[in-house]
């Protein structure tokens, strides 16, 4: 009897094209669009070598130290450990002016009674270029002064110390993964997809409730305990939804290359708990609201609101909620699921992850209990 029911409920769910679209294909399409939109965002954050020109005149040819330094910072440098910061072209002064006017370079360097920099605009690249030249000039001047007044000291390691920079700040990684503002969008997306499992919970409860559907009336006339049917239906809904979430997860990790960290077991656990939360939430909505349109509206509206507050549409929202109204974060299942993925990705310890999982389990218990209290009615006041 269990298997018979379970298989037919699976068929009913899988063949519901409209809901399959919303629960499976819509999140995948949304993820694809997210990826297209955020790919450029990530590119913009990457450092690109600065295009410059150097006027190759006699004075420059005489300045061997400067040539060596420039070469070491060039993208054509032989040093494979360091990425070059300058794309250097060697030109005449006229060509340099032309390249600058055509915005093909950020500035050009020419040596005429010293090293000079010509730029046309101000910006980050121009600042880097200027700082580099200033620092070279300062170091050269220091070396020349020492050589002039105390050349012996150069042999006792002073030259090395001049070139050495001591950093009094120590970089400590707050997490085991590198910061990535984009991944949170995908975490909220998968959390939203989990809550869309509510559509299945909603469908299943409607199918078995005599006051919600004629099919429910027919099932309730059969000699089978109501809760056996409810449990089978919810299990079928969870099975399909979990499969969809795993597919979405695979798409995100394997196709879109979104990192979820490497704690596969906990990631799957989040998917399972998130899926059950979504399905039981839908069952709860379906049990307390009778009108079909209203219950779908309530499910979509609440899921989207939760997703918004978790940062799906605006990445700062998660931070705003956590600093100004943290309670909202704890009562928002989408935020909790998102935060599970977030903490698995960023943190070395799992305490925050398990806190989220426990709160989600409390939600599952509340939704299930409320649904049970409504469904346990054996006779209805009206059909």
């Amino acid at each position: 009897m269990f298997l018979h029911n379970y298989i037919y409920r699976l068929k009913c769910i899988v063949r519901d094209r409209e809901l399959m679209y919303w629960t499976l294909f819509f999140p995948i399409i949304l993820a694809t669009f997210f990826n297209l939109a955020f790919a450029n965002l990530s590119e913009a954050e990457k450092f690109a070598p600065i295009n410059i020109a150097v006027v190759d005149n006699k004075e420059y040819q005489k300045n061997a130290p400067f040539q060596r330094v420039l070469k070491s910072l060039s993208t054509t440098s032989d040093d494979k450990d360091e990425e070059g910061i300058f794309n250097i072209r060697y030109t005449t002064k006229e060509e340099g002016d032309k390249l600058l006017n055509d915005k093909e370079i950020e500035g050009y360097i020419y040596c005429d009674n010293g090293i000079k920099l010509v730029i046309k605009e101000s910006g980050l690249n121009q600042t880097i270029l200027k700082n580099f030249i200033d620092e070279f000039k300062q170091t050269s001047s220091t070396v020349e002064t020492i050589m002039e007044h105390n050349p012996e000291s150069m042999h006792s390691g002073l030259l090395d110390r001049i070139g050495h920079r001591t950093n009094f700040l120590k970089e400590v990684a707050p997490s085991k993964s590198s910061p990535d503002t984009v991944v949170n969008y995908f975490y909220t997306l998968i959390a939203m997809a989990c809550m869309y499992g509510g559509f299945w919970g909603l469908k299943e409860v409607t199918a078995i409730q005599p006051n919600l559907s004629p099919q429910g009336a027919r099932i309730n006339v059969a000699p089978i305990h109501r809760f056996k049917v409810v449990i089978v239906c919810i299990l079928a809904a969870i099975s399909v939804q979990l499969f969809e979430i795993i597919l979405l997860l695979a798409y995100l990790t394997l196709v879109l290359k979104i990192s979820f960290g490497n704690q596969i077991g906990y990631i799957i656990l989040t998917c399972i708990v998130g899926t059950i939360t979504g399905v039981t939430y839908g069952a709860f909505i379906s049990s307390i609201i009778k009108e079909e349109g209203l219950k779908i509206g309530a499910l979509i509206g609440s899921s989207m609101t939760m997703s918004f507050l978790a940062g799906m549409m605006y990445d700062k929202m998660k931070y705003i909620i956590s600093t100004r109204a943290p309670i909202l974060g704890y009562v928002n299942p989408v935020n909790l699921i998102t935060d599970c993925f977030y903490s698995l990705y960023y943190y070395d310890t799992n305490s925050r992850f398990f806190t989220n999982i426990v709160i989600l389990c409390v939600f599952i218990a509340i939704f299930s209990l409320c649904t049970y209290l409504v469904l346990r009615r054996q006779r209805y006041a009206s059909l």
Binding site: K11, I13, A217, R218, V221
Partner: protein, 320 residues
């Protein structure tokens, strides 16, 4: 069915003083019903008379304020699974799943009653053949016409071969061919041993197939019996309809003076004359028209219908 050995009727459904209120509206007002084994019992009443509410209360789907319901001599309750296993329900609304094929729908609902897969397969095939939808076995419901959907709805309700089948207006919005098929099917189910409780607001259907009929109005049973017994309850008998194109009040007054006349009306070019029960006035009416040189067209003589019964008891048409 009258039990030949013991000489008693075996009650399948017994409803006593069932009362159901929706706020101030009394949907069922001390509703009483007794259905015997082997009957096709018709529950006839206009829309809103309380037929479906009564069925839902009998099946323990609806709460009721007062009264008792017994099925197979046991109190009916939501968890009375030993009773439920012998009940089949065909609802007014088509209760099937659009995502399942015709065969799968019947198999799914039959599977709620029958565990053995091989036995179930036989029953499902039989039910599908019974309602003549074998050709559409692999079709999804959306591809079926309204009539075929109704047949599928019936197959889902009867596949487990219940002893009691409750059909709640199963022919609503059905084409004549499917309706005829459904009504014949119900009679065949009854012949195969099932007791039928059939609700409808179509008096012709109820007259055609039911062995006993209860007429309902405003949540109450206002008359019960065979169709002959019901018709015998009213004072009017034969109804004569004569097509007349010219009419004046004198004709109506003269006809009313004839013996055994209950009423005389003129409506839509037809003179309608109702006689007392057991009396025949056709010749007298025709003699009057001929002797007064009144031209007339078609003539119909009809025995009283259940609508006449309803009309006389409630003062309104069954179709109102």
């Amino acid at each position: 069915m009258y039990n030949n050995i013991l000489g008693v009727f075996i009650l399948v459904i017994k409803v006593d003083n069932l009362t159901k209120r929706y706020g101030n509206l009394i949907a069922l007002d001390h509703f009483n019903l007794e259905v015997n084994q082997g009957e096709i019992f018709g529950l006839l009443g206009p829309n809103g008379s309380g037929k479906t509410t009564a069925i839902n209360c009998i099946l323990s789907l609806l709460k009721y304020d007062k009264g008792t319901v017994e099925i197979f001599n046991k109190p009916m309750a939501p968890d009375a699974y030993d009773i439920k296993k012998d009940i089949g329900l065909v609802m007014q609304n088509v209760a099937i799943f659009d995502e399942l094929t015709v065969y799968e729908n019947v198999d799914y609902f039959c599977g709620l009653y029958i565990k053995d897969r091989n036995h179930r397969r036989e029953l499902v095939e039989q039910a599908i053949d019974f309602v003549s939808i074998g050709y559409y076995k692999d079709f999804y419901p959306k591809k079926l016409s309204g009539g075929l959907l109704r047949r599928l709805n019936i197959a889902c309700g009867i596949a487990h071969q219940p002893k009691l089948i409750i059909l709640d207006e199963p022919t609503v919005a059905v084409d004549p061919q499917s309706r005829s098929n459904i009504l014949e099917g119900i009679q065949r189910l009854n012949k195969a041993g099932a007791t039928i409780l059939y609700t409808s607001h179509y008096m012709e259907e109820v007259e055609q197939i039911c062995t006993r009929i209860a007429i309902m109005d405003k949540g109450r049973i206002i008359a019960t019996g065979t169709k002959e017994q019901l018709k015998a309850m009213i004072s009017s008998g034969e109804k004569i309809r004569v097509e007349l194109f010219d009419m004046d009040d004198n004709i109506l007054q003269d006809l009313k003076k004839l013996p055994h006349i209950v009423s005389v009306e003129y409506e839509d070019n037809f003179l309608i004359v109702k006689s007392s029960r057991g009396k025949n006035n056709l010749l007298a009416v025709l003699d009057y028209l001929k002797s007064n040189n009144i031209a007339f067209g078609k003539i119909y003589s009809e025995p009283p219908t259940l609508n006449d019964v309803f009309l006389e008891i409630t003062g309104k048409e069954l179709r109102d």
